[in-house]
Amino acid sequence: MRRILFVALIFSMVVAADFEWVHSYKEALALAQKEHKPVMLMITQPNCNMCEYMDEVAFENEELVDYIEYNFVPLKLDRSVANKLGFKDYGTPTFYFLTPKGKTFVPPLQGAAAAKVFLKTIKEIKAKYVAQER
């Protein structure tokens, strides 16, 4: 019984983590252009428990994961890489939202947030993007 529970837990975790992070800025922009989606850039660094929280808790929320998968190209970069590309941060995680051309269209989000808050915010961001593209 315990075994089944464990398998179920693992299974639910695997299924929940539906979207796959892109790890190259160029690839993300190419993908964004192809799929006509904005890019969601998450800046991380080693030893960042707030980033771990996002990965292990917030991004396990099914509703949020689905929303990101259909509406954004998720890109994850270390802050050393991101800073060289011109994306500044006070710390990590910091989220930038970019057009397929690599332009920011909203101010970056700083810090971790619970899944519900995060979902609400990125819905607003997506709406802004769509309005702007028209």
Partner: protein
């Protein structure tokens, strides 16, 4: 299991997190999140890490090295956040300094997060202590001086931005006295060459500027890596005399006594191989002049240069630092390209005119030679040389000979010019005997004569070493200011003549114990002083508060005009109390 724990704990905080906009400054930037203070108490140093509200630091990422060796820390009991050992609020701990005499470099590195939901980048703060010194020393790191913020630009900006901004800094530096002497040198190299045209002039200028930039870069990287200032080392009487002699030789060749070039046998040997090789000999000369000019003629320390040097010194990243310096020197040299092309373009056709122009540049070269010698000869001697140069030029303009009947108007013009030069030369000679120090003010200006008669001795008290400064700092009194200067430093001269001569500045300086360290001879004591404060050369002005602690944020490197200097003095005075 650990993951599980983190998960569980984090779940509890699920609703504690919310986004923070840039507009709502709930997340403090890292400089405000952590403030580190280190106080030396005899053989021990006490560190105090002050954290802003909701900020914490990981125990396992808190590390201290003394002279590069990691030391174990005795820390209080940590608290737990998300299963990690952390500290909040104020963290205080002490370490013993190593048993040795001299300077100890302490590096404290740490990393942590803000409970508002953000983790800060890893931090490192550096402190310098003198082991065995009884004096209490406090160093705070809350504010950065101009130079240090440039060093941090290098650390945080992207590559293209760094190179572009250093090129920009260079362009600004191009209008400082460090570059002015290069203008006549380059122009006369171009005017003095045979068969000059615009293209060739441009080529000459490019070679000159590149050689200058290479010299700056090499000197800078060496200074950053080894702390030895090559430019300062070259400011010795031998190098300066040699260079002045080169100027005299160039001047004589301008006057048409001889032609400077490779020996005839070499020239024919090269000419056999290629037709264009004739100009190569000239180009090598131009390159050498460019290289030496950067090192000897106008050595300058300006904030961007010092910033790049600090960066190289701290990180050992000579590549990025060197490239930044190279970009800066190219910026400094860019206006020289215009000068060079201009000199090539507007050059008259060979003939009588050409000779006149060459001679004018010959005089300019002699002037440069005297200007160089001002660094090593007493001012009475150089004043005499200036006077002689003016009078000599006047005589060559035939100021003392009658003009023949029906002469061309140019002869009249030349004679008038000659007479003016003659009179000025005589004034300068008289000034030399009256003890004036600059040919620009042979008699001093009547209105400021009374004030400027005393300042140079009264304004600053001379010191020779770090120990002397420490003794003065140990005695209570007015706040202390130290001006680091040298005779060969063009920006220091500018400071002296524009800023320190201003009566308002002199009045404000009266509120300080104003000290001056003259490092013209670059002695061991001078070098020790520079190393102690992480300076790379003059000009620099340091401020100390009444506890004898340097107010680093106010530190001045390079030239400041009277207004900005007064503003800094005012701030220093208020903050010192």
């Amino acid at each position: 299991m650990r993951l599980f724990l983190v998960l569980l704990l984090a779940m509890q905080m699920l609703f504690a997190f919310g986004f923070v906009d840039a507009k709502k400054p709930a997340i403090v930037p890292v400089e405000k999140a952590y403030k580190v203070e280190a106080v030396q108490e005899g053989e021990k140093v006490r560190f105090r890490l002050q954290m802003a509200n909701k900020v914490y630091v990981y125990k396992k990422h808190l590390k201290l090295t003394l002279d590069g060796k990691e030391v174990p820390l005795t820390l209080p009991k940590p608290m737990k956040i998300h299963g990690e050992d952390v500290y909040e609020g104020n963290l205080t701990f002490s370490v013993a300094l190593p048993q040795k005499e001299g300077i100890v470099t302490a590096k404290l590195s740490f990393q942590g997060c803000n409970e508002a939901g953000i983790c800060y980048p890893p931090q490192e703060r550096t402190f310098i202590f003198t082991a065995g010194a009884p004096k209490k020393e406090i160093r705070k790191d809350t504010q950065l001086s101009e130079t240090e913020s440039i060093a941090s630009t290098l650390r945080h900006e992207s590559f293209g931005v760094i190179l572009a901004s250093f090129f920009g800094f260079g362009l600004l530096l191009a209008f400082t006295p460090c570059i002015f002497p290069m203008i006549p040198i380059l122009s006369s190299l171009i005017v003095g060459a045979k068969d000059m045209n615009t293209k060739k002039a441009f080529f000459y200028s490019v070679v000159y500027v590149l050689a200058m930039s290479v010299a700056y870069t090499i000197a800078g990287v060496l200074a950053g890596l080894f702390g030895a200032n090559l430019q300062a080392a070259l400011q010795n009487p031998v190098a300066i005399t040699l260079f002045a002699l080169i100027f005299v030789a160039l001047a004589l060749s301008m006057f048409g006594f001889y032609e400077i070039g490779l020996p005839a046998s070499w020239q024919t040997a090269i000419a056999k191989r290629s037709d264009a090789a004739g100009s190569k000999g000239g180009l090598i000369g131009v390159a050498i002049m460019g290289f030496l000019s950067a090192l000897i003629v106008g050595p300058c320390v300006a904030p961007p240069l010092a910033g790049a040097l600090i960066y190289i010194g701290q990180t050992g990243d000579a590549l990025l630092g060197g490239l930044a310096l190279f970009a800066m020197s190219l910026g400094m040299g860019a206006p020289l390209l215009l000068v060079g092309v201009g000199a090539g373009k507007f050059m008259p056709k060979p003939g009588g005119w050409m000779e006149a122009v060459s001679k004018v540049f010959g005089v300019v070269m002699l002037g440069l030679a005297i200007w160089m010698l001002e660094r090593i000869l007493p001012s009475s001697v150089t004043m005499f040389l200036w006077g002689a140069l003016f009078v000599g030029s006047a005589v060559y303009l035939r100021a003392l000979e009658p003009i023949g009947e029906g002469a061309h108007w140019i002869s009249y013009f030349k004679k008038s010019l000659g007479i003016i030069l003659l009179i000025y030369g005589v004034f300068v000679l008289i000034g030399a005997f009256k003890g004036a120090s600059t040919p620009l003010k042979p008699f001093g200006w009547p209105s400021v004569a009374n004030q400027s008669a005393q300042p140079k001795t009264a304004l600053f008290q001379k010191i020779d070493s770090l120990q002397e400064l420490q003794q003065i700092l140990a005695t209570p009194g007015k706040p202390v200011l130290v001006d680091v200067t040298a005779k060969w430093c063009a920006s220091c001269k500018e400071l002296e003549e524009n800023t320190f001569s201003d009566p308002r500045v002199q009045a404000a300086l009266g509120k300080f114990r104003a000290l001056q360290l003259d490092m013209s001879d670059n002695s061991a004591a001078d070098k020790e002083f520079l190393r102690r404060f992480g300076l790379y050369g003059p000009p620099a002005i340091l401020f100390f508060d009444q506890d004898g602690k340097e107010m680093k944020a106010l530190r001045i490197v390079g030239y400041k005009d009277p207004e900005s200097f007064l503003r800094i003095l005012d701030q220093a005075y208020r903050r010192a109390k």
